[in-house]
């Protein structure tokens, strides 16, 4: 495994980086979808994120990395039994960032019968899949718009319920699977199913920078990284440490951040005027604004926060008119300017 490219060394892509950091600060926002061309650094940013995530407290030995603070009944098939035997032993584990590759089989995603055990010992045992590994962490699907239908169905179901239920191969297993879904893809290669799109809290447009200086800077950084990944990572270690600390602090502060009623009214006005259906848009905007304030070390969200998150929270929620060529981003920007003033 190569040393990952440091997050703080990524040139440009401010929108994507901000959205990812918001998702780390408040996982309840519901994931990030990155639209954009190939080779624009989406995967790099998402893989780099793994190094910034705070470690987790898990029940020792639990196959699903359960949270000791939560109810034991949730993990009926593994750690409930452990917990009844007196005090729960805990350990720390890194927050998982799991790749779900295109063309993964259902077995690998859901988990399946442990073939080795079954064949050699005649034992029926469940081998956890990618969903179990992603519990309490991030599940990354590159080119999610090309993901096969039956896997999309499965993801939607688990993402909505926070629980993976396996009823196949004579197994009957349920285990918690709450994860932040990160997707990327190029809409030109196929549309994303609306139900799945709706699952994402934030959506960003990732573009290749057109500015020559920025492009050179990216190529240079990549060159330095390819030449000696460890030295490159060491050179950015301070920035990474600072970022990690900032994220941890923001996470701790998140629930204390308040948002004033007049600002909430403005958020609602933006959603109404942009024609967003349902309440998910408002909720996401509010949470994202608070997360951004927490990242900035403040205890209250401001108009600037709302302005910064409006497009990413609403971009994918506007009703699509196939004949309308005005981009969603432009429409949101216009509404935001109307409500908050330019």
């Amino acid at each position: 495994m190569r040393t990952p490219f440091p997050f703080s060394a990524i040139v440009g892509q401010d929108d994507l980086k901000r959205a990812l950091m918001i998702a780390v600060v408040d996982p309840a926002i519901g994931g990030v979808m990155a639209f954009g061309d190939r080779g624009s650094g989406k995967s790099t940013a998402i893989r780099a994120l793994a190094a910034l995530l705070p470690p987790l407290q898990v029940v020792k030995g639990c196959a699903y990395a359960c949270d000791p603070a939560r109810d034991a009944a949730e993990c009926a098939s593994d750690c409930a039994a452990r917990r009844t035997k007196g005090a729960v032993k805990t350990e720390t584990a890194p927050t998982p960032v799991v790749d779900l590759p295109l063309g993964a089989t259902e077995d690998r995603v859901l988990g399946a019968l442990d073939l080795e055990r079954a064949l050699t010992r005649g034992e029926k045992r469940f081998e956890p899949g990618l969903l179990a590994r992603a519990h309490r962490g991030f599940l990354y699907v590159d080119e999610i718009n090309l993901l096969e239908d039956h896997l999309v169905d499965l993801l939607l179901d688990v993402a909505a319920s926070g629980e993976n239920i396996v009823e196949r191969e004579g197994l009957s297993i349920r285990h918690p699977a709450r994860f932040v879904l990160i997707g990327s893809g190029n809409p030109e290669e196929g549309e994303l199913r609306p139900q799945l799109l709706d699952r994402f809290g934030l959506a960003v447009d990732v573009r290749t920078p057109a500015d020559v200086a920025a492009r050179i800077a990216i190529v240079r950084a990549r060159e330095a990284y390819d030449r000696d990944a460890d030295a490159f990572a060491a050179a950015h270690a301070d920035a990474e440490r600072a970022l990690r600390a900032a994220l941890a602090q923001a996470r701790a502060r998140r629930n204390a951040v308040s948002i004033a009623d007049p600002l909430l009214a403005k958020i609602a006005a933006i959603c109404v005027q942009a024609g967003v259906e349902g309440l998910r848009g408002e909720l996401t905007m509010m949470r994202a604004a608070c997360a951004l304030a927490a990242l900035d070390g403040r205890d209250a969200a401001r108009e600037d926060d709302v302005r910064a998150v409006a497009a990413m929270a609403l971009r994918h929620r506007l009703r699509r008119d196939p004949l309308d060529d005005i981009g969603s981003t432009a429409r949101i920007d216009r509404v935001v300017a109307e409500v908050l003033g330019a």
């Binding site: 079954a118 590159d142 096969e148 004579g170």
Partner: protein
């Protein structure tokens, strides 16, 4: 100069790949299997060193072999877990060859790409497609620095390269200094000028320049290295090329775009462009300009979605007895269940008491169903005076169909015919975004090459069928062609050829509907439908809802 030079470039590329495999990723080798290709692989192997593994992954390889895991057959035999390393793992530090990469599934491509990111190996994708109607999935092409055409004859006269010390350059490449800023600047501008936007391509160009510097014993890349990088990495990806280079002939299909950057006129870039372009054969550049737009659109369109392969994924059905072939998945529980009743009988004198002996006859193979995808191919008469209105309505129908394409697993393509040609305006796509862009600049008016259009639809339908999708051809016309297959005008020849083309389509057993949009039924469209073996639906006043309704009524069952 052309062939020799291309031979040289291919030989150089092999050396550069061996010098910096991690930085360059791999190569797409276009061309049929040939001695030249074998020679190229042998060259690469020699450069990489005799110990470097070179593995070949056929497209039908199963996951167990590709990713490694439990060896089912051996495990059953031995009664203890027997693990086997995956091919991807074995290729680390060497090269992995993907033959017929243009036919590989997106899933296979995604796996190679992911594995390469984790532990580097050189990816060698053979593109054996003809006429550019297929291409390796873009996820693979994007990860390969070089896209080479293998010349017909093995390259000769590359002594100059043979004399260079590749192994030494390999040791040195990490110590090569950075390219001067001015040079990087020029490379970036050149990329922009050729319409190459991907940053990864620039990263490849930089790595190629550095590897070239190492190969030629320089301490940092100079202009020659940049020219080589531009030629090998950027030029094959060029979307548009300045047409002024070829004044003798009219420029090909995509018009040269306006210069986006005023600085592009910079003398240094001009020099780089000139050197890079003059080093390439003229016809190659023009061919690039003509093909690239079309090819990339098709590659994009063909990369998506799953094939209707039912042995491996989809919703599970009940398993059935059968022999375990590669790619099949064993339903273990059912297999053991089948074997259980015989346990006592079979295990007399066996090694272990706990293991249920399994015989071949017990094997139960899993089956899956997967929805078939369909492709609706619109063939629209855009000739004559009423064309514009007709086109507008068809556009509406296409957009309605695509708006819920995800649910109906439908792809849509559009062939418009007017004047002398039938154009594939929208290649098969599921993307509203792409279709909208391509429908934007449709034109109407002129003569009616009906025969050519039916032939084009026929070819497309067959191609779609090969990809596992069910085609439906929808012809919107009054059924009266007046341009023959050879391009001569005239009602009689045009009609005759249209009937012949229709008969060909009938023989291919492709589902079709003819929507008659003549204001009065003159029987032409009806006769065409008959010749085609197609359903006939009159729709004198073409409107989007009507077209949509007819298409849905005739859509292949899913």
């Amino acid at each position: 100069m052309t062939e020799a030079l291309r031979g040289d470039d291919a030989a150089l590329a092999a050396a550069l790949l061996a010098i910096d495999p991690g930085g360059l990723g791999g190569v797409v080798l276009r061309g049929p299997p040939s001695a030249a290709r074998d020679a190229w692989i042998a060259d690469l192997k020699r450069h990489l060193g005799e110990n470097a593994p070179i593995r070949k992954a056929p497209a039908h390889i199963d996951d167990d072999r590709l990713l490694g895991g439990l060896d089912l057959a051996l495990t059953l035999q031995a009664g203890r877990p027997v693990l086997r390393a995956g091919l991807l793992h074995e290729a680390v530090g060497g090269a992995l060859i993907a033959p017929m990469a243009e036919r590989c599934s997106p899933a296979f491509a995604a796996r190679l790409a992911a594995a390469q990111e984790e532990a580097p190996f050189l990816l060698v994708a053979f593109d054996e497609s003809r006429d550019g109607d297929e291409a390796p999935p873009s996820i693979l092409r994007e990860r390969c620095a070089f896209w080479l055409s293998i010349p017909d004859a093995p390259p000769r006269g590359d002594d100059a390269i043979a004399s260079l010390d590749v192994a030494h350059a390999r040791d040195r490449v990490r110590a090569i200094g950075a390219a001067p800023d001015a040079l990087m600047h020029d490379l970036c501008l050149l990329a922009a000028r050729w319409g190459v936007t991907s940053i990864r391509t620039l990263v490849f160009a930089n790595a190629a320049a550095r590897a070239s510097a190492a190969l030629h014993g320089r301490d940092a890349p100079n202009e020659d290295d940049a020219i080589l990088a531009a030629r090998l990495v950027l030029a094959p990806r060029a979307v548009y090329v300045d047409a002024s280079e070829a004044p003798a002939e009219p420029p090909p299909a995509p018009p040269p775009e306006a210069e986006t950057s005023p600085a592009a006129a910079d003398a240094a870039v001009e020099r780089l462009v000139e050197a890079a372009e003059s080093a390439l054969p003229q016809d190659f550049l023009r061919a690039v300009a003509a093909q690239q737009a079309q090819r990339s659109a098709r590659a994009r369109a063909s990369g998506a979605g799953a094939r209707a392969k039912s042995a491996q994924r989809g919703r599970p059905l009940t398993s059935r007895p059968g022999a375990l072939r590669a790619g099949d998945r064993l339903d273990l529980v059912a297999t053991l269940r089948a074997a259980a009743p015989w346990k006592r009988l079979r295990s007399a004198g066996a090694r272990s008491e706990t293991i249920t002996p399994v015989r071949r006859a017990d094997f139960r193979i899993r089956r899956f169903v997967q929805k078939r995808e369909s492709t609706t191919i619109f063939v629209v008469d855009s000739s004559g005076s009423t064309a514009l209105q007709r086109l507008a309505e068809v556009k509406g129908a296409i957009q309605t169909l695509l708006a819920d394409a995800y649910v109906s697993r439908a792809r849509v393509a559009l062939i418009a015919f007017r004047q002398n040609a039938a154009d594939l305006v929208v290649p098969p796509t599921r993307s509203l975004t792409q279709a909208k862009r391509r429908l934007g600049d449709l034109m109407g008016g002129g003569a009616t090459p009906l025969a050519g259009a039916i032939d084009a639809a026929h070819a497309l339908a067959v191609a779609e069928r090969i990809k596992g999708r069910t085609p439906l051809i929808v012809v919107l016309s009054d059924g009266r062609g007046n341009v023959a297959r050879d391009g001569t005008k005239g009602r009689a020849a045009g009609d005759h050829d249209a009937r012949a083309a229709a008969a060909g389509l009938r023989a291919a057993l492709v589902d079709a509907v003819v929507i008659d949009c003549a204001p009065h039924d003159r029987g032409d469209a009806r006769a065409l439908a008959q010749a085609m073996g197609a359903a006939y639906a009159p729709l004198p006043f073409v409107h989007a809802d009507g077209v949509d309704r007819i298409v849905r009524a005739h859509a292949p069952p899913r």
